[in-house]
């Protein structure tokens, strides 16, 4: 009993501080998002609570809180948060990011699943090396490619359209996904497939009916990874799309919430929180499945 108690205590002791350090910026962003301008730009105010905006120059604040909890809500304002929803195309950006992410994940799966499967099963020794080679193309940084790709995008008439991103993003999700899935498919025992083949299925049918359901964890892994790569991408999103309605979050937030030499800090903080929380919830819920997917594939 003491051992489990000690183990548990140790768990809290380790995880607790990490969770605090990692999540603290987000807590602070949450508090900052609702601060009034007068409160935010006052150097003496505690950053973690709300204060009245200074009424007149030189007047001392009527009270100074030495708390660390966000108190004083009567001095907080939701105007900066509503600003991003009413005066910018923020909801559009979220939609765009979701759509691009979804489509790219689809394309990635369509191309990487067969490739990964074939490299794992059907190509033997040199398949391993081709798989690694495909992964290595992931290492080419977008800062190198974005100019030549601009020409391609323009020739295809996709400039300033979301389709340009849908076309280009798989170029870094597919190498990654293929390599991952290749490793994962390798761990599925051959007997399962052979059994299906003996039963009279063609190879394609075996792939669809037997392999696919078992590889759901691996596929989920690829889905989450690819989606997170798309959401984080910045260089292409900024370069290929200039219309504010077609921006993704990564491109739209720096463009519209930073005007010349004025930074809308509170809105920027809110803009960071709003997509992060659902995404973290999503990843967390799928974590168990994700782990199973990764275990199968990573290093074989």
């Amino acid at each position: 009993m003491w051992q489990t108690l000690r183990e548990r205590g140790l768990s809290y002791l380790i995880v607790g501080p990490f969770a605090i350090v990692l999540a603290f910026p987000f807590y602070w962003m949450l508090v900052t998002a609702f601060k009034t301008n007068g409160d935010l730009y006052n150097l003496d105010n505690v950053p973690f609570t709300y204060h009245p905006a200074e009424a007149a120059l030189g007047e001392k604040l009527p009270f100074r809180q030495q708390h660390w909890l966000p108190l004083g809500f009567e001095h907080a304002t939701p105007s900066h948060v509503s600003f991003i929803f009413n005066d910018t195309n923020y909801t559009r950006w979220i939609e765009n990011t979701a759509v691009v992410g979804g489509l790219v994940v689809l394309i990635t799966l369509l191309l990487a699943v067969p490739a990964g499967y074939s490299l794992a099963r059907l190509s033997g020794r040199w398949g391993q090396n081709v798989g690694v080679g495909i992964f290595l193309t992931y290492l080419v940084p977008p800062t190198l490619l974005f100019l030549p790709l601009s020409r391609v995008i323009s020739k295809l008439g996709l400039q300033d359209r979301l389709w340009s991103l849908v076309l280009v993003y798989p170029s870094f999700t597919i190498p990654f996904a293929t390599w991952l899935l290749m490793g994962f498919f390798r761990t599925i025992p051959l007997e399962l497939e052979d059994a299906a083949l003996i039963d009279g299925c063609s190879r394609l049918k075996a792939l669809a009916r037997v392999i696919f359901p078992i590889s759901i964890p691996g596929i989920l892994t690829v889905v989450i990874f690819s989606f997170s790569l798309c959401v984080n991408e910045f260089v292409y999103a900024i370069t290929f799309i200039s219309g504010t309605k077609q921006h993704t979050i990564s491109a739209g937030v720096p463009t519209d919430l930073i005007r010349g030499d004025v930074y809308f800090w509170q809105s920027l903080m809110a803009a960071t929180l709003i997509p992060s929380i659902p995404l973290a919830l999503l990843y967390n819920s799928f974590l168990n499945r994700f782990i199973a997917g990764f275990t199968g594939g990573a290093f074989r």
């Binding site: 990490f18 990692l22 999540a23 950053p47 190509s123 030549p148 960071t272 974590l287 990764f294 290093f299």
Partner: protein
């Protein structure tokens, strides 16, 4: 009759073709390969071509200068510093990530109350789009309104007492000052540290932000590795009497090595090829002291319009990463097999 038989034979031949390994394998791989060749390979070739010309300002053609750009870059102080920074930032942040993720994963594998919530908090840095969360850090490290500085410099004892955080921190810094090579100085209340304005501090800030955003991701990979250790191995270790530190050193660590290598590899790739964090936080920093290869290539190629040179600088990154990746993948496979 003959026509039908002929048609049936044709369809069977087609189906046989699909069964044939030699046809099916390339057929399944080729869409992915074609995609990559078109969208990565072709621009890459164009970039290699550009790096050997004197192209400027977006023009995709130029006069051939062969390896002049590569040699020129090498002689530039800023380039060498960028190369050094790339290596330093990557290794330092990934060292932090490795240690942190290893610890965290061990603690998170066992179920306990509140684990779901704590895991959610730990995943947040990875879930946030990197461009936007880095802007958040820009405000956290702001030259005037930094919350870090505020906490260090102000009286943070609630109520009547007084407690200034910078005093104990200065005490520690004073102790560190006695070590050779390291000169830290002290925190001045009236002149608080400029996290993005002093070269050393800026480097520290960048390393911390990179570690912060990669840590959740590495933790998840480590958890995967730990939970893949078959129960039999665990039980065998227990039977053998190996517990605690012994078990960790002789059983867990070797088994985790392959997945640790993979986590490290991903972390290295994400950090070394990343431009966003450095660009947003310091844009290359005070006196070009925090440039990494990607941002220096951007500065040279786009801002200064030396496209050819910018391409050459970016290309320096490639062979390094290639070698590192191949070595690590080989290592991982070898360790795992044994």
């Amino acid at each position: 009759m003959a026509a039908v038989a002929g048609a049936r034979k044709q369809s069977r031949r087609f189906r046989d073709l699909l069964e044939d390994r030699r046809f099916l394998a390339p057929a399944l791989i080729s869409p992915a390969v074609i995609f990559i060749v078109l969208l990565v390979g072709a621009p890459l070739v164009l970039s290699v071509y550009l790096s050997m010309t004197d192209a400027t300002a977006g023009q995709l053609t130029g006069k051939f200068v062969w390896f002049h750009n590569f040699v020129d870059s090498w002689h530039n102080d800023n380039f060498r510093r960028a190369l050094r920074n790339t290596i330093v930032f990557t290794l330092a942040s990934q060292a932090i990530v490795l240690v942190g993720a290893g610890l965290l994963a061990h603690a998170l594998v066992r179920p306990f109350r509140g684990r779901w919530i704590l895991r959610f908090l730990i995943l947040l840095p990875w879930a946030a789009p990197v461009a936007v969360s880095t802007i958040g850090f820009l405000w956290i490290f702001d030259s005037q309104f930094s919350v870090v500085n505020w906490t260090l410099v102000h009286d943070i004892m609630p109520g009547g007492g007084h407690f200034y955080l910078y005093r104990p921190v200065n005490w520690i810094l004073g102790g560190i000052d006695h070590l050779p090579w390291i000169h830290t100085g002290k925190i001045d209340r009236l002149n608080p540290p400029q996290w993005l304005g002093q070269p050393t501090l800026a480097i520290v800030a960048i390393i911390l932000v990179q570690a912060w955003r990669i840590l959740p991701f590495a933790t998840v990979i480590f958890i995967a590795g730990l939970s893949s250790i078959p129960n039999e191995v665990d039980d065998a270790a227990k039977v053998d009497g190996a517990t605690g530190l012994r078990k960790f050193w002789h059983v867990t660590l070797p088994l985790q090595l392959p997945i640790a290598t993979v986590a490290l590899l991903f972390g290295i790739v994400f950090t070394a090829t990343d431009m966003t964090v450095v660009y947003i936080l310091t844009s290359g920093g005070p006196f070009n002291s925090t440039h990494v290869l990607t941002t220096w290539a951007y500065q040279t190629g786009i801002v200064s319009s030396n496209l050819g040179e910018g391409a050459a600088i970016s290309l320096y990154l490639l062979p390094v990463l290639l070698v590192v990746s191949v070595l690590m993948l080989r290592f991982a496979r070898r360790v795992e097999v044994s």
